[in-house]
Structure formats: C-alpha cells, structure tokens
C-alpha cells in the first residue's frame, strides 16, 4: 500500500519530529527506575573474546557494548546522541570532525579516560577491525588537549558518526592494552578492562559471561541493573525454554518465527521487532552472474518473477518477516520505494525464459541452490521453496546442503555455486555493510560476503562512491536511491525478506533495548521491576 506522496511526506515529517522529541527527552525520570537485580540474557552466540575493536559480529558486540563506552550513541532513530563525547562538530568542508569529551569519565580501573586513550583506540580499530571501510578515509587522529579529539579525513565521510557508536569503535584503556603484544591475540581480550556501564567479571567459553555494574560509570545514577548474565544455549529452542521457565528474562536476535508466535501467546512475555534497524539483516537469493545461464539478465529476472515473496513471509515465516526489495532494510534512512520489485508473475517469468531460449521448446535449465546451514526457516525452508517455485516455470533446481558453515562459505567465496541463499547485514550505513556486496573493486575470491556474485557496473560504483562522500543527507539519499534502482534493474541478487529478528523479554524488564542497535548498544537504562 502506498500513500499519496504529499500525505506520506507530511506523515514522515511528523514522525521525524515526534521521534526527535522522543530521542532528546530523557528516557525516563530516575525516581521511577528501580535499581538492582540481575538480568539473565539468553543467547545462542558464542564469542571468541570480548574486544570489539578487533572483532566484529553479534557475539562479541552484545557484551562489548556493555563493557566499553563509545563516543556517540543512538536512540530509536538515526540521530546521533552524546555518550562519551558531549558535543561534536564538522568543519565547513566536512573533512574534520572535532569532539569534546565528557569530564570525569573513568575506566574500570579508576584511571581517567583521556583523548589520548580515545585516539589510540580509534587507531587500533582502523588498523585491525575486519570492516576496514569504517575508518578508511581517516588520515589522522589528534588529541590537542585531554578533552578534545580531532579526526581528520581525506574526504567527507558521513558514515563516521555511526561508526563511532554501538560496539564498532570501543574506547580501550591505552595503558592496559598498549603492552607490545599483538592486540588481536592479546589474552586481555578475554576479560578486558573497559569504559562502559558494566565490567566483566567472568567469561566461560561457550557457557556464560558475567557483567557487573560499574559504580564509577560516567553517567550519573546509571546503570540500573546490578548484573547482566549472558547465558549461552545450544540452540534457540533451549533458550526459549529458559525464558518460559523463568531461568532467563530476555532473548535478543530470535528469528524462529514459530517460536516467536508461541511466545506471543504466553502471558508474561513481550515480543518486539524493534532494535534491529542498525544491524539491517537481509535474507536474499544471490546469483553467480558468471554462470552461463545466469549471466543472462532475462533468466535472473524470470527466476525473480517466479518467486512469491508473500508466500515466504506469510506462510514460511508465519507473517513475521517483512518483504525485502533492495540492498537496505525498511528501517534504514536510505530506503526507497523507487526500485524494481519483481512482484510474483508466473506469465512474465515464462515469457522471459522463452525469450532467453529456455523452457518449452527450448533448452532445459538445471541449477543448483545452496544455503547457509543451521538456519532453518530463513535459509533451508526458502531454498526448498525456491526449488518448488522454479519447477512451475520449468527450471529444475537441486538443493545442495552443506554440513557446516565453512563448507558453504568456501563454496560461495570460491564461486563454486549457481545460486545461493544468503544472509547479509547492512550494519547501519551502506559504507560499512552494503558497498561490499556490489562494488567492482570488491570482487575478491576467497572472501565471504565480498562481491561473490561477481557483479560489476561502473555506474553503480560511481553512485555509491559519490554517496559515501556526500555530507548532505537529502543528496546522499538521492544518490543511494539511484544506485539501488540500478542494482535492482541488473538483479545480481533477488531480495526476499528481512530477517525477522525479535527480542523477547519478561514483564519485569523495563526500558528494553530498542534503539537502532538493540542489545548491541549499551543497556545502561534497562531496569527490572522487582
């Protein structure tokens, strides 16, 4: 359903105003929030270590966002808010970002957090973080005085504000970590001294992580919780059982829609899909555009027309996942309606196939489809459905399963596939999580979640690169809209749905983490009704 343009713009504007008001209002007056209590968070992710400066991914991000503070933070929209930095400003040419640090902030060992620590930490991230595009345009980090940080860039880099939040650029104590060891394998990453609302006191691999309230946290009166215990479960089913039995009070990143539907019916649990706009998780069908048949645009379009997104979202995902039509999720500021959608149309599909010389009277088309293992509803079920859907237009599909992740990953990254289901995250800004899939320069064999479709369109590269250095949000949105229009026209990937991540929490949990980063942001405002 689309609204008339005037109405939708006014509506959006009102929404934006309301959201900004929400974001700037204090979340809740301190008298109301009760202090104390232990929040048990059920998780299926098992981190290797807890230092998110050198390790991306959800598993490390959730504990790291509690252990380390960042310069900025975000609420429920994409407007940056002060955190460790109390104010910030760009130079006129947008190439220099100056941030003023809060007075009196300390690390968990009591030593003050200075600009020196901040620029050292940012340097560590720039040199070691797996998402090298985050700080690539930075040429220098400077600390003119203990409360001021200056970031100099070779070009405008609007994504930087988002990069300075969540767990992407944690602020580490230089005097602890700068010990001559390789930061990536430093044993201190297991129980790091941090700067955030909680300090880590125990980390048992594959078992649990215990985070205790840090009394010297720089935000007065926060955090509210005494402890957060992240308990790791073998699979979502066991985690959900733990919620139902009261063993745990919160389960983030739950995408099993049958489980979610079951939990919705339970009286003392709340289910929300808020808190995932930042991660922007997409579930899609990727084509190997170098495959003899799939290099033909008409064949890719025919496959897309034969797939009914509604069936996937309503039947396979119990109505809980949203359809996806482009490289970003609906919650992204760069989402646009103006793309090629490929809504379900069997006649169009058959006509396109015939035109390409396949189907009745033509050649028989046989393709393989792979999928990421251990992700039942989103990956395996959709792959099986694609097989059935394409049979209707005369394409014979073999579903090829993989016993474990590295098997699938190696197939895809070495281009040994025809089509594959895949899950890729936006990570908040296209520069971090979207460009990598489409840029010609990122066709890199052996690297999973690079441009494994081997799709290359100079025009798209130009638009995306221009958008990356465009400080003006409206212009930036326009550039991405053009790029997404072109990508969906070329269809190296057929977008199917957004991964229906939900957070389930018990009635006792107040102020649940529903910012754009959800549990990958600080949980200093969460409290328990006792």
């Amino acid at each position: 359903m689309t609204l008339p343009p005037a109405f939708s713009r006014r509506f959006l504007l009102a929404g934006a105003v309301a959201l900004t008001a929400l974001a700037t209002a204090p979340a809740l007056s301190a008298q109301e929030a009760q202090k104390g209590g232990t929040l048990v968070l059920a998780s299926v992710h098992k981190p290797r270590h807890l230092n998110s400066a050198v390790q991306s991914g959800v598993a490390t991000a959730v504990p790291a966002a509690q252990i380390f503070a960042t310069l900025l933070r975000y609420g429920e929209d994409f407007t940056p808010q002060p955190y460790l930095a109390e104010s910030w400003a760009f130079s006129d040419d947008s190439k220099v970002l100056t941030l003023k640090l809060r007075q009196g902030a300390t690390f968990h060992d009591g030593s003050p957090i200075t600009a020196e620590d901040v620029i050292w930490s940012l340097g560590v991230v720039k040199d070691n973080h797996p998402f090298s595009s985050m700080l690539a345009p930075v040429e220098a980090f400077e600390a003119p005085d203990p409360q001021t940080v200056v970031i100099r860039m070779t070009q405008p880099h609007p994504a930087i504000l988002l990069v300075l939040s969540a767990s992407l650029t944690p602020i580490l104590p230089k005097h602890v970590f700068d010990d001559g060891q390789d930061i990536k394998s430093n044993p201190k990453n297991n129980l790091p001294i941090g700067s955030g609302p909680f300090k880590v006191t125990a980390f048992e691999l594959g078992q649990h992580i215990i985070l205790e309230r840090y009394d010297g946290f720089f935000l007065e009166g926060k955090p509210y919780l005494d402890r957060i215990v992240i308990r790791q479960y073998q699979d979502a089913n066991s985690g959900v059982l733990a919620l139902e039995s009261g063993e745990a009070q919160m389960f983030p990143l739950l995408d099993g829609t049958r489980l979610i539907r079951r939990l919705e019916k339970s009286g003392n649990l709340t289910v929300t899909d808020k808190g995932y706009a930042g991660i922007g998780p997409l579930n899609w069908l990727a084509f190997n555009t170098k495959h003899p048949a799939l290099s033909d645009l008409r064949v890719r379009q025919a496959i897309a027309y034969a797939i009914d997104r509604d069936f996937v979202t309503k039947a396979l995902h119990s109505g809980l996942s949203k359809p996806a039509i482009e490289p970003v999720v609906q919650g992204s500021p760069f989402y646009t309606e103006d793309v090629e959608r490929y809504d379900f149309d069997l006649d169009k599909s058959k006509a396109l196939l015939a035109e390409a010389g396949y189907g009745e009277g033509g050649k028989k088309l046989e393709l393989r489809i792979d999928y990421m293992p251990d992700i039942e509803e989103q990956q395996r079920a959709v792959a099986e459905y694609v097989k059935a859907a394409l049979a209707k237009v005369g394409i014979a599909v073999t579903v090829r399963s993989a016993p474990d992740f590295p098997t699938w990953s190696q197939r895809v990254s070495s281009y040994d596939f025809d089509m594959t289901m895949d899950q890729v995250f936006n990570w908040g800004d296209p520069v971090i999580g979207v460009n990598r899939t489409y840029l010609c320069s990122n066709i890199r064999q052996g690297i999973i979640w690079s441009n494994t479709q081997q799709y290359c369109n100079e025009e798209v590269d130009k638009l995306m690169n221009a958008a990356g250095v465009e400080p003006d949000l409206a212009k930036r949105q326009q550039l991405y809209a053009q790029a997404f229009k072109q990508i969906t026209t070329d269809i190296p990937i057929h977008f199917i749905n957004e991964v229906p991540y939900h957070t389930v929490y018990s009635q006792a949990v107040q102020n649940p983490p529903v910012s754009i980063w959800g549990t990958m942001g600080p949980m200093d405002e969460v409290w328990l009704k006792q």
Partner: protein, 323 residues
C-alpha cells in the same frame, strides 16, 4: 615383565603418532579453513584481515610443513594455541576434562549398577514376564538415538514438568556456599547423566542377561547345585562373577570412548565438557584444539584398556596366570 611394559609403551607412542598424523590430514580434507570461520563469525572481513589470519596460523605454508611444525611442537609437549579461542589448547582441554569425567563416570556407574541388576533379574526366569519387559526395554533404550532420548527428557522434565535444568553445569545466577554449589551441579547433572546412562544401561542389562544364561548352563553351576549350594549363592557368587567378565570388557571400552559417548549428550545439554569442545572445534576448523582432544582421548583409550585388563585379571584368575 620389563620388556612387556616397554613394548606396550612403544606401541602406545606409535599409536598416538599415527592418530595425530591421520587426523591432521583428515581434518584438512574438510572444506574451509579457520580464517573462513572467523570471518563468518565477524559478519565478514576484508581481504587483508583474512590474509593476516592465515599468515598468523601458518595456513599459507604447505601442508607437510604445517604437519612437521605441529608434530615437532607436540613432541615437546606443546599442543599449541587454539585458533578460534586464542588460548593454549592444554588449558582448554584441562578445563573441560573434569565435567566430562563427572558426566561419564556418573552415567557409567548408574548403568553398571542398575543394568547388571536388571540383567540378573531377567536371567532368573528367561521365559518370565520380567525377562520379557527387560528385554523389550533394553532393545528400545539401545536403539533410540542418544540425542532423541536427551530431547525427550528435556521436553518431559525440563519443560512440561520443569524439575531439572536443561543446560549447563552450574547456575551462575545463584550465589551460594560450597555445599549449595555441589547440589546445584548434581541438579544439573541429572538429565545428561540419565540420557547417557540409559544407553549404557540397556547394553549392560542385555549383556548381563545373555552372559548369565550362558554361564548358568555351564558344568560348574550344575556341580554347585548338585553340591547343594543355595540358589542365591549359585546366582550371586558362582554365576554372576563369571558373567560380569564381558560386561567389564565392554564398560572399559566405553570408558575409553568417553569423548565420543559424550559429544552428543553434551551438545544437547550444553554441558561444558570435552564433547562440546570437540564439536565446536570441528565446526570452527580449529585444528590444534581438535588434534589436542584426539591426543587426549587416545591416551584415555590406552589407559582404559590397561585398567580393563587389570580388572579382568582380578575377576578371572585364569587370565592372571600364564602370560
């Protein structure tokens, strides 16, 4: 005597070396490498990061060079660092050995005591009702896949009637003294030990029954009965002791296969043991950890075999004599 010990030691060393080499090559056959797994876990990584990981672990060197380096270090007692967890493999294994021993010993003990009793009961009257019930139940227990039994117990006693915890070994949220921790571990131990125990139990009861029936037909039993020894004595002393021999052998072998027995159960119950570690390390292509675990389990098999040998000799004087 001395030569026999020396021969056994040499044999053990050769076996361990063969196991290490074979497994090193086997795990390399699995597609993908640790860099892919680490990148996957990070939601993607740049080419430079991937290359750095491969270089850091020497994955860019030829396979035989890697094997040589590994064996050279292993001979000096250095099992290396886990690729995935970045901790010494020996530390990882030692921290997991206790929980696995606890789980398997509890399961085996429970199965031995209850299983042999049931087997005896069934052998009293091989055509009676008790015998039929034990036989059928054993067959079911033995045939049911261990993870299925585990999941059923989880649904029954973890979810429907929530009597026991279903994951982990200890409740970290509760804080208490030493005694309450012991009780907490025991509470967590019930379901996984029962799951593993039921599989063993089914085997022991069938084995005891068959072995008892065989022994009861032997000449010395007829002699004992003719001498007027009470039926209790005939069963308990003469027959049972001899019937135990095959059970001990099987139990010893199973204790040797401690890790393989524990993998599935530990995985179902998130038990923090070697089984879970083995499973996760294989998925993560964490070569040093997998090889370290195999090294340890080979050691355990060898030790368990020696012990079984010893207990069998105790039970059967005929074995003790001679060789």
């Amino acid at each position: 005597m001395f030569r026999r010990i020396l021969r056994q030691l040499l044999y053990a060393a050769a076996l361990i070396l063969a196991v290490l080499v074979l497994n090193f090559l086997l795990i390399q056959l699995a597609p993908g490498d640790p860099a892919e797994v680490i990148a996957g876990e990070m939601g993607g990584a740049s080419a430079e990061v991937m290359a750095a990981i491969r270089q850091q672990y020497g994955l860019d060197k030829p396979l035989l060079t890697q094997l040589g380096l590994y064996l050279g270090r292993a001979l000096q007692g250095d099992l290396g660092m886990s690729y995935f967890y970045n901790r010494p493999v020996v530390d990882l294994i030692l921290s997991r050995l206790g929980p696995t021993m606890l789980l398997v010993a509890t399961a085996l003990g429970f199965a031995l005591v209850v299983g042999t009793r049931l087997g005896m009961l069934a052998s009293r009257n091989p055509r009676g009702i008790a015998s039929a019930v034990v036989t059928v139940l054993s067959l079911v227990g033995y045939s049911a896949p261990v993870f299925w039994t585990g999941l059923m117990l989880v649904i029954l006693f973890g979810a429907t009637i929530p009597l026991f915890p279903i994951a982990g070994m200890i409740d970290v949220v509760k804080q208490g003294g030493f005694l309450s921790r012991i009780l907490d571990i025991a509470h967590h131990l019930v379901l996984p030990a029962l799951t593993l125990g039921l599989v063993y139990l089914a085997q022991y009861s069938r084995l005891t029954r068959a072995s008892m029936l065989e022994v009861l037909g032997a000449d010395y039993i007829r002699t004992a009965r003719a001498k007027g020894v009470s039926e209790r004595q005939v069963f308990g002393r003469h027959a049972f002791r001899n019937a135990l021999l095959p059970v001990v052998t099987v139990a010893g072998m199973q204790f040797g296969a401690i890790i393989s027995g524990a993998v599935l159960v530990e995985t179902v119950f998130s038990w923090p043991g070697l089984g879970t570690l083995a499973f996760q390390s294989i998925l993560a292509r964490d070569y040093p950890t997998v090889l370290g675990i195999l090294f340890f389990s080979t050691l355990i098999v060898i030790i368990a075999n020696l012990l079984t040998d010893f207990v069998s000799r105790l039970l059967d004087p005929r074995l003790a004599g001679g060789r």
